[in-house]
């Protein structure tokens, strides 16, 4: 994910709007994803968060690749853990 590739024609150079469009697309399409963060950091885009399944992670990474083509992207997307707790909190 970290290797820059050629930008898509017509996308322009405005990284901020492209990140905004990524957020829009993640929410609007099959993922319905509002909890993933995409931030511009030192000239690259960091995409971080937790998704509910491995399939969601694959879909998300595909959408990120499509939307942020040509930009340096670092991803750290975790799949939510599904095991029970090993202890309780006493309140």
């Amino acid at each position: 994910m970290s290797d820059p590739v050629a930008p898509r024609e017509g996308t322009g150079g405005n990284v901020e709007y492209r990140v905004a469009h990524l957020h829009d697309r993640l929410a609007a399409e099959e993922l319905g994803e509002l909890g993933v963060r995409a931030e511009i950091r030192a000239g690259a885009i960091a995409v971080t968060g937790t998704v509910p399944s491995a399939q969601c992670r694959e879909t998300l990474l595909r959408v990120v690749r499509e939307e942020l083509t040509g930009l340096t992207v670092h991803t750290d997307i975790v799949v939510a853990a599904t095991t029970g707790p090993d202890h309780a909190e006493e309140l």
């Binding site: 319905g32 968060g49 707790p85 309780a88 909190e89």
Partner: protein, 241 residues
Amino acid sequence: MRVAAVGDIHMGADSQGLLRPAFETLDDCADLLLLAGDLTRHGTPAEAEVVAREVRDLPVPVVAVLGNHDHHDERPEEVTAILQDAGVTVLEGTATVVECAGARVGIAGTKGFGGGFVGRSAGEFGEPVMKEFVRTTRRSADSLCAALKDLDGQDCAARIALTHFSPVADTLAGEPPEIHPFLGSYLLAEAIDTAGADLAIHGHAHLGSEHGMTAGGVRVRNVAQPVIRRAFNVYHLGGEG
């Protein structure tokens, strides 16, 4: 009393069976399961059916509120009915009492809504859509307060406020402060403090943190699955475990 809770499980077609193995062990460690909303991704009946199969016939009672995702398809009544058919008690401005290890636990629930926190909150002023935004939260908070008060006199050993949106900013730590008004409202905390509760459970803030407290001293726990990093967390209330 042992209270299990999780929110933001965001189930879709690919989720079936992910949480069921952990849920089937619930009676080893908990007396009831609270679901703090965003049980689906888009609020479709098909996704609600996935959730329903995941929680049907569990060994402990299940009490839920819906979240904003569960409203996205604009069919919250259908989602609610599907969950109820699976035995889930779905709260919206209402309360229920669950027998829990020989004691009675009252749960009052509502989805809640946004608006922000004291000093940085939206006001009921200006354009109709802005006023309606804040009034939506106010109505939700009022219904939560009334539901908690309804539990008075019902011989409850503990009362729990269950919401999807957060009543406090504490449990949003980790979220960008700019979006706090979309993550919760102090009106929910004010309702909880006015009526009284022993614990407040919410979800919604995936990047937030687990622990917080209202101004009135009620402990708040954000149980969004990305925060707790488990199928559920368990809280012991009442000192007896």
